[in-house]
Amino acid sequence: MADSKDVTLKIDDRDVTVPPGTLVIEAARRMGIEVPSFCYYPGLSLQAACRMCLVEVERAPKLQTACTLVAMPGMVVRTNTEQVHQARKAMLEFLLANHPLDCPVCDKGGECELQDMAFTYGADKSRFAEEKRHRPERKWSEAVYYDAPRCILCFRCVRVCDEGMDVKALGVGQRGSQSVIIPNGEDHLDCEECGMCIDICPVGALTSGTYRYKTRPWEMKYVSTVCAHCSNGCKTTLSVRNNEILRANNRDLSGFNKEFLCVKGRFGFDFTSHPERLKLPLVRRNGHLEPASWEDAIAEASRRLAEVHKASGADSIGFIGSNRTTNEENYLLGRIARASIGTNNLDHHRTADYPSLIAALGEKAAAATVTMTQLYEADAVLLIGDDPTQQNPLVAWQIRAAIRHRGSRLYVINAKSIKLRRKAREFVEVSQGGEAAAVSWLSGSDETLDPGVAESLSALKSALEKENNVVVVFGAELTGAAVRDLVKFGASLPGQTRYMALGDYANSRGASDMGLLPHLLPGYAPLADVKAREKFGKVWGAKLTNKPGLDARGMLAAATSGKLRALYVVGANPVKTFGVNANERLGKLDLLIVHDLFLTETAKLADIVLPAAAAYEKDGSVTNTAGEVQLVRKGGDVMGTRSDFDILRIFSHQLAEHGLGQAIRLRTPEAAFDEIRQSVAGYDLSMAALLLGEAERTSPISTAGGQAKFDAPVGAIFSAHDTLFASGSLGRYCTTILSLPEAGPKTTPEAGAHS
């Protein structure tokens, strides 16, 4: 719709109307006219370094750079004249003066912007007789290599590192044609190793240490899926050759993260081909885990589980799910626990209090939570706890972009001086673990705080009261009653207040949504709700019990005391996560079944270990911390493994043969997702949008009403505080990430990070 302030100009004899402030290059692109450029990159500051975008403007004495020229009313621009063609040709000749002709060797060959431009606009000959200047290639880190002669000095890398990442690790040295990009550590990089500079480089000057010289772009197939690490749900494109993942970058710029990926998203895919990957089921015989066939392992697992069920009852069996497996797999696990076995001993490692947030928001839950895109659109962000730069890199990226592009304000309450502090308008430093008390104080309780903290909190409060649109982002520091207080404080603010809870892992939110919790059914339906129990009982073909179940810590304690006889663990490492003494077998368990990629501390104690497929090796859906559902696609394949979905489905058939529950007849993750869409509140999402690769936000509504309880036991919800270079159990097998100096001293899988 044309606004009265909109500007109409003429480009190549066609009229175009654009909002005021639009650059000519953008206006031309909107019309489908390609104006070539290297240094111009949407979202970064303007540089006008490459001079490729020169266009003819009527009544201007010389050619103008379209990337810095703001569209004005009545402007007449021509992009297709002889003069412009000559200019482009000459510019390319200059750019190629020192650029080596090593395209056959260069990693960028085939997807290189300079190659494409030289092909489209360039001259076929160079008039330069001088020898090309050569400089040796530099290894800046295990992840980033710099080949100076290939560099065309567009400074995209410098700008993305400074503006986008706020790391400022790259700069320009020397001047004129002698200019080079230099890293902050003189001969090496000391940074977040996000690899954004590699991704954004239009030529092959910056190349990836993991992908170098392995293959060529046209030799691979590309699978667009969701990153397997943190809970932000960035889209990533896996480059796959011979079923092996060779590269991850968001090649198609799809998803809410666009070009952004952090070090884990970009380099943390090599766990899939780690030599310690389990490829055969293991069964404990005479005290040792020995390889077995899939048939034997699953048959034995289900037989022994049925025996425990018969001897000690349903409540002697516990289930610990994963926050990495897909929604479908979590849903199936919940169904096996509740319908096939008939117990509510079901939990996972909770890293954010989603149930409390949804319960506190009540019917407003859908409208009062934000997506990653809405976070960028917020006028003000209040960040309580967490360190998004380390734990939720996309959230940090979105906040920085909002501040940079839109002038948004950031307010931080944290016990640590986190990196985002430098972007914050107000920073309130609370004592270690003091975030909940600060929120309670803000909500109007008579909490006694340190006078200094109280003073800065009241300054923060009055600043927030002037904002019309606040997004509150909080970490695992706020749980239970603190979340309720937070929502109470939010409601007291005059402007619109919306929320985002930050979890740790790729499907932390999905595990919660799918009801891997002792007290909640899928879609946050309370166990006490008879109607909800009847609904799921009908779908699952069983009568569901409302007998309260044990949470993860409760199950582990019951295992030690002998009350729990069997434990079924899917993609989790509770021994490490919950700090169980691993020296003795898990208490007096008769049976411990574990699905995992690797022989984790928990898997080492197991009676039966089933080798599972990684997130990059299966189809399904995951939900990010903002509640946005996206489909994951199978990229690689590792022979011998099976997806958790397959394992659970086969398992349900075996259990049915032993008289436990009904076999699961959902053959594919798509079929399971159809059932989820029908039965789980908030998951009735547009399948068309999901299939197109878009993110669809769930809108769960807590049906608990006034009955909602905010009394999660202490220690039930906690973050692992993984840094950029750690990712729970998986992080210990990401060889490239561990080889980076920023990842700290070399860790062996034994001494690795938390689960």
Binding site: P104, V105, Y213, K214, T215, R216, E219
Partner: protein, 161 residues
């Protein structure tokens, strides 16, 4: 009578004509190849089994750029590339072909790979005796395609095999 004489004359002419071809060819170089008793002679441009060449220092000319594989209409070339290191230098460029296979059960000897090669690393040789009893033997590995040669250590100017 005259008809008999004419007939004899005509016969003689015909025979002379015929034998002139025979005798003139008897003096020519033979065209027939006595394969397999004798080696076969080829035109220079004959497109036989490929040869991967080495440069003057004995390093492999192939830099593993995959352009031959991209040009191949039969998709018979399979490459895995890797990076040269200072300790182990295989080709002159940064990259070399760690694996280079040609599947001769698919190759149609069109020569597009030779045309595509930016470093003149691959050419058609004159080998043609391909028939094996096992089809797997038709996949030629790099070791089999690579020109025999010596590698010169550039630093010490030493030749070694």
């Amino acid at each position: 009578m005259s008809s008999i004489l004419r007939e004899a004359g005509e016969t003689f002419v015909t025979l002379a004509k015929g034998f002139s071809v025979t005798f003139s060819n008897m003096l020519r170089k033979t065209v027939t190849e006595n394969y397999p008793e004798e080696p076969v002679h080829f035109q220079d441009r004959y497109r036989g089994i490929h040869v991967l060449h080495r440069d003057e220092n004995g390093l492999e000319k192939c830099v593993g750029c995959f352009l031959c594989a991209a040009a191949c209409p039969a998709r018979c070339i399979y490459i895995e590339a890797a990076e040269n290191t200072d300790a182990q230098r295989i080709s002159a460029g940064e990259r070399y072909a760690r694996v280079y296979n040609i599947d001769y059960s698919r190759c149609i000897f069109c020569g597009y790979c030779v045309e595509a090669c930016p470093t003149d690393a691959i050419t058609h040789g004159h080998g043609f005796e391909l028939a094996p009893s096992d089809i797997n033997a038709l996949i030629y590995r790099k070791e089999k395609l690579l020109e025999k040669g010596t590698v010169r250590d550039v630093a010490s100017n030493q030749l070694f095999l």
